[in-house]
Symmetry: C2
């Protein structure tokens, strides 16, 4: 009975914290420069899964932290790093729909989208300014994210994609930020080095798994559920194809280049073979690896929620 109540209590508190997080992010992006404020609010209002701040908070609780409010600025900063990268991504990929709304570049144009992304990055810097040690962790993840995006663009351009390169890319552009979120949660709770390390592994592997599932959904997902233009990210699609396609898939990759809509050829070829199945199994395996890292933590409701989060990352359809 107690355990059920405790679970309910943690869960309520988490949802309350996530509400407060929204408020905090809105406050953080306030500006006298109305277009920056409006464009930032536009993308924040559209929602998003908030999986990174959720992971940070759960990691904090699972490592024994009790003052959820104290970690919210850090959780907000992590989500804003992701948001900034999404805004700049949409410029580079010419994405016109994001989270079910017009992208910032579609609505305000490229110049303001570029500046809004810069604004969000600098707001992260400002939010984090008072947090010396954590800054080292988040700054490193932010650099990795930009490096990962660049590696992807370069590999597509130079046609050097392979499974190895795909992993290099997603480790940087996605898993590094998940890792930092989980680690910072543990650090904020004052966890022992072993736990911080374990949470870092959890976050990193969930991040890889999350991105693989994202790439699968980008190929086969329902655009309405995804809330973004599916299949537009040719770089991502090519990376994914290079990583998972069988020989037939590799041929499709080469053939696809001169075609009018290479993504359609990709999709068809990929869905013919066992590519998607292989990728799904890989995502599943990484998820198991992630959850096994949680064994060093004391049992708690938050730890169970981290397990559940891992399961949802793999099983989601949006």
């Amino acid at each position: 009975m107690t355990s059920v109540n405790a679970a309910v209590e943690t869960s309520t508190t988490l949802e309350q914290a996530l509400q407060a997080l929204e408020h905090l992010m809105f406050q953080a992006v306030d500006s006298q420069v109305t277009v920056l404020r409006d464009a930032s609010r536009h993308i924040l209002e559209a929602g998003g899964k908030r999986i990174r701040p959720r992971m940070l908070i759960l990691s904090y609780l699972a490592c024994g932290g009790t003052q959820i409010e104290s970690v919210l600025p850090i959780a907000a900063a992590v989500e804003l790093v992701h948001t900034a990268s999404v805004v700049h991504d949409d410029i580079n990929d010419h994405g016109v729909v994001r989270r079910g709304r017009p992208s910032i570049n579609a609505r305000w144009g490229r110049t303001f989208a570029l500046l809004t992304g810069d604004f969000l990055f600098t707001k992260v810097y400002e939010l984090m300014a008072p947090h010396k040690d954590l800054n080292v962790v988040l700054a490193e993840a932010t650099v990795a994210l930009v490096e990962g995006e660049t590696l992807q663009a370069a590999a597509v351009k130079e046609n050097t994609l392979s499974r190895q390169v795909y992993y290099d890319i997603i480790a940087r552009k996605t898993a590094a930020l998940f890792k930092s979120a989980a680690q910072m949660g543990a650090l904020l709770a004052g966890a022992a080095a072993e736990q911080v390390e374990a949470m870092g592994q959890y976050g990193f592997n969930i991040g890889l798994s999350f991105q693989i599932v994202d790439d699968i959904l980008d190929l086969v997902g329902d655009e309405a559920k995804l809330g973004k233009t599916a299949g537009i990210d040719l770089g991502q699609g090519k990376g994914f194809a290079a990583a998972y396609a069988s020989a037939g898939g590799a041929v499709a990759l080469a053939e696809a280049a001169p075609a009018k809509n290479p993504m359609d050829i990709f999709k068809q070829k990929l869905m013919e073979g066992d590519t998607l199945q292989t990728a799904r199994e890989q995502a599943q395996q990484l998820m198991w690896l992630a959850t096994s890292s949680l064994d060093v933590l004391h049992p708690s409701d938050a730890r169970e929620e981290l397990r559940e989060m891992a399961r949802l990352v793999v099983e989601r359809d949006f």
Copy 2:
């Protein structure tokens, strides 16, 4: 005799420090992602006046600091904020020449230029991560810089430029970073609050003066000396014109809009009236205001170099 020697010594040490600064910035932008490293080096190698780090170091020395090496990472971060903003500016303004070289967007394309700018911003964050209190100062200046750029783009688009708006723009996009450089130099030297405040005023007014002179040079300067495409920044030119043009100039602004090359009309009209003279006098006045802030400092060679720097900011032709 002693004072002359001391001056020579300070000056040598400053130049050595600026050499070490170059090395440090190169180290900071190293990356396994070669395009980020190469593009960052490309813009750093092209030089630039390094006026912001120079100001930070001189402010540090003038406030009694003696360990120049210790302030170099902060000086590097300030210059990298400026460099990042220049890289993104060239995307938005379609600038093809910067510091006498092809701009990053001209050479590597827009996607990599956007990512290189992001990379430089995140490297600032990483460089500054261990410096808690200073981060609050630099983060605020970095946010202001992005806000100033945005304000300019918005005012041009909405045609709301005026002298007041021009000052709002240049206060944020240029003076805020100069102010932070001078203030951080003082803070690093452990200066009293009064001195930190005075150095902030010095930096802020030099920043305004610097930008006004920059805008004059953009209109009438020698492209070879400037090392960048002159007169391309219509937003800047329009802001400047709105701030300083007499009635005739204001008409020119309205007339210019539908013309093929509005900048040529601007230039001609602006050079006919007393606009440039008014702007030069304003820059001069701000420079005097800046140097008067230095009176609260103890006399030193570094203080004299700060005065000299102020003079050069106004009298330069590049």
